[in-house]
């Protein structure tokens, strides 16, 4: 028995392609659908058949890719972050106000903004753990409060400030034919996957999400872990706010709003369980790409807005049904005593 390779005995995560597919069925399914959809878009619009379009999809997806990481981590530990919209706006407004067009203040402004959003994220975590306020309500409240503060700070309008040149260049310039942001994305995804799936910290998050009570008893610092998960979400929002400002050149107070529901949708479509403890970031990235390609396709076809919305809703529901079916198939094998679907207890440590 000792002859088996390490990876094989670990359940074959690295056990070639077959092993990967076996242990990540949902993720693979998401990518298959995404690729199929991409092929469809190529047929719908011949002008999509070039490198540039692929890069465009990545640039458009980049915001959601980053914000969904935070959302996914929070969902992993049985939370939900409804404050991402406000935090993105906050970051954008602050960075534009402090840095303005030049790059002078960038060295202190960017870290400071990231620090602020991370801190607000951690406040969410503190409310959800120490004060025992359900994350849904906690983040809803901080979302409303932060937005209110931004409104007061800007007196209703982010007049001041353009995007710093650095951020502009980050989002729109190319290096060697590839947009700079794509390099950043690759780096981000790499680090994110390492943190979520290969680090001790990530493992602990999974354990916490799978069974908070057991995690507590096993000596994990549940509160600390949850707070850092929310902190990561805040950090990601800070990044996205800056990216958006770089992309559009000026902040608006509503620029974060679309990312609340779509980040949750991306995480869920990507095969994570909204009840926590399950899912991985690559799946989420697949979910984001799926949604982005879908919206590209819909725009290309030029459907009426009503139909676009309907199709988006339908895709979410269908993705859910698909992942629930594939999950059920794997579950039947392991089901022993669970009576139908039992909802795990929420954090009651």
């Amino acid at each position: 028995m000792k002859n088996n390779s390490v990876d094989e005995r670990f359940g074959g995560r690295n056990d070639g392609v077959a092993g990967f597919i076996k242990s990540n069925k949902v993720t693979v399914a998401v990518y298959i659908v995404t690729i199929l959809l991409y092929v469809v878009t190529l047929f719908v619009s011949p002008s999509f058949r070039n490198w540039h379009h692929l890069m465009l999809v990545l640039v458009l997806a980049s915001f959601l890719i980053v914000v969904s990481y935070g959302q996914g981590i929070v969902i992993l530990v049985r939370g939900l972050d409804l404050s991402v919209g406000s935090m993105i706006t906050l970051s954008g407004v602050l960075v534009a106000a402090w840095v303005s067009q030049s790059n002078e203040n960038i060295l202190w402004a960017i870290p400071l903004v990231l620090l602020i959003t991370t801190f607000i994220g951690m406040l969410n975590g503190i409310g959800a753990t120490l004060l025992r306020i359900p994350p849904f309500v906690m983040t809803l409240s901080t979302g409303i409060i932060v937005f209110s503060v931004v409104l007061g700070f800007t007196e209703g309008s982010p007049h001041k400030g353009n995007a710093p040149r650095f951020l502009n260049g980050m989002m729109l310039d190319h290096t060697a034919g590839i947009p700079n942001i794509v390099y950043f994305l690759i780096l981000f995804i790499f680090v994110a996957v390492i943190v979520q799936s290969y680090s001790a910290f990530g493992r602990k998050l999974y354990a916490l999400g799978a069974n908070p009570k057991a995690a507590h008893i096993s000596g994990l610092r549940n509160n600390l872990l949850t707070i850092s998960a929310f902190g990561i979400s805040g950090f990601c929002c800070g990044l996205v706010g800056m990216m958006l400002v770089g992309y559009t050149d000026a902040p608006t107070l509503t620029m974060g709003d679309p990312y609340v529901m779509s980040s949750i949708a991306a995480v869920v479509v990507g095969g994570s369980s909204i009840l926590g403890g399950k899912g991985n970031y690559l799946g989420t990235v697949g979910g984001v790409l799926l949604l982005t390609i879908l919206s590209t396709l819909i725009t290309a076809i030029g459907l009426a807005e009503g139909w676009r919305t309907i199709i988006q809703g339908a895709i979410i529901v269908m993705a859910l049904i698909m992942s629930s079916v594939s999950e059920r198939n794997t579950k039947i094998a392991s089901a022993q005593k669970n009576i139908s679907k039992s909802v795990p207890e929420t954090q009651k440590v």
């Binding site: 540039h52 209703g156 729109l172 992309y247 000026a250 725009t299």
Partner: protein, 420 residues
């Protein structure tokens, strides 16, 4: 037993103290944040400004203009202005109107969230003698005053200009506003009416930018990917986002863009680099200055400097063609200048905050900060106002039967003949 009771009692007392503390903290908080504006109560006109959505530069410019005017003598002695943000929720705006009426409003100047949803509360208020002035967006309630450019034909005029630029043939994309909105519908119908007259014009794609630069930019990027060699883009608010999407598309050529009034697009029109890449167009659209015009009209009615007024008033459509863009040196439109240097305002700032005739009291600075221009005094408005057409669903209630269907005839530009 006795012991137990004492413990229990003290716990109850502790809890009650905690409760009282929390509640009183909250109460103190309310009192603390409360303005002391209520203190002085000499006879002033109580005017309320109800914004729809704060958050974009357009809305706050409009609000700032009204605020600056209210602080400009002699209005500074006559007006007590309160600003309320109603968000995009009809319910909230109804509630706010009711609160304003209850608080003895003399006039309410507002950007209405819905053209129809507020009618009932406006009717109630009008009966109580409150003046309702809607700027930019309109309501179909006849007792309200609508001051707007909507009926001035943004859609048909810009579309005609685009057609002229394109020589009557080519492909066009349309960047629309918020779906399900009557203003978007009016603009869109105007544009389409023109495009349909030219068989050579093909509208290849339409999408929604939600009058938002960020969303317009993303949607335009997607649409451009499908139609990279489109000849012209007909945009509602969000044209700066459209431009940025074109710049980022990697294509050397920039299509013609007709859109609204952001500083960014006007600067781009004037940029020789951009012109070299083919950018041409017209900047014409929704002006925040309407708010100031509406406010002054309302004040003239209140101060009885104006006897009667039609209810639907048209604000002239701003119109700046690409080769007519001129940079302002100072803070006001003078010598026919119509845009500002990039280091002075955000590219998403709408330039049409000023009007040399209707709003001479307002400078760029007042539109940005809400502070009056030093030394300015309120100037009377020209006697005549332009009455707007009563278009159904825009500023007229079809039920009342006096509406006229819109005629989509461009007047800012002479239509070219349909090419054979």
């Amino acid at each position: 037993m006795v012991m137990g009771k004492r413990i229990k009692k003290s716990r109850v007392v502790n809890r009650s103290i905690l409760m009282v503390l929390l509640v009183s903290l909250f109460a103190v908080g309310v009192m603390f944040v409360a303005d002391d504006a209520k203190a002085e109560e000499n006879k002033r006109f109580k005017i309320f400004l109800s914004l729809s959505y704060s958050g974009n530069v357009w809305q706050s410019s409009a609000a700032n203009i009204v605020k600056a005017l209210a602080k400009t003598p002699p209005y500074d002695e006559m007006v007590e202005l309160t600003e309320v943000i109603s968000g995009s929720n009809v319910e909230k705006q109804i509630s706010d109107y009711q609160s304003m009426i209850a608080n003895g409003a003399d006039g309410i100047i507002s950007f209405p969230v819905s053209p129809t949803g507020l009618n009932r509360v406006i009717r109630e208020g009008s009966k109580k003698g409150v003046l309702f002035f809607m700027y930019d967006s309109t309501v179909t309630e006849p007792s309200a005053y609508n001051v707007s450019y909507i009926t001035a034909g943004h859609g048909e005029n810009t579309a005609q200009y685009l057609v002229n630029l394109m020589g009557g043939k080519g492909t066009v994309m349309i960047n629309r506003g918020v779906p399900g909105n009557s203003v978007d519908m009016r603009h869109y119908n105007g544009s389409m009416a023109i495009f349909k007259r030219y068989p050579g014009i093909k509208v290849v794609n339409e999408y929604y930018g939600y009058w938002d630069d960020a969303k317009s930019q993303q949607a335009t990027s997607q649409a451009l990917a499908a139609y990279p060699d489109v000849d012209g883009i007909c945009s509602q608010l969000g044209e700066y986002g459209v431009l940025r999407a074109c710049l980022a598309s990697g294509s050397k050529k920039i299509p013609f863009i007709v859109g609204e009034d952001t500083n960014g697009i006007r600067l781009a029109f004037a940029d020789p680099e951009m012109q070299k890449r083919g950018l041409k167009g017209v900047s014409a659209g929704s002006p925040p200055a309407t708010a100031g015009y509406a406010f002054k009209l309302m004040m003239e009615l209140l101060t009885e400097n104006r006897k009667d007024l039609v209810h639907n008033i048209e604000y002239p459509l701003p119109w700046v063609e690409w080769d007519k863009v001129k940079l302002c040196k100072g803070d006001v439109f003078e010598d026919g200048c119509n845009c500002f240097p990039a280091d002075k305002v955000a590219p998403t700032m709408t330039d049409e905050v000023l009007h040399p005739v209707l709003l001479p009291e307002i400078s760029l600075k007042s539109a940005q900060t809400g502070e009056p221009m030093p030394g300015a005094r309120i100037q009377p408005l020209p006697k005549d106002v332009t009455e707007a057409r009563s278009e159904p669903g825009i500023n007229c209630n079809p039920k009342s039967g006096k509406c006229v269907d819109p005629v989509y005839e461009p007047y800012m530009v002479t239509p070219i003949p349909v090419p054979k």
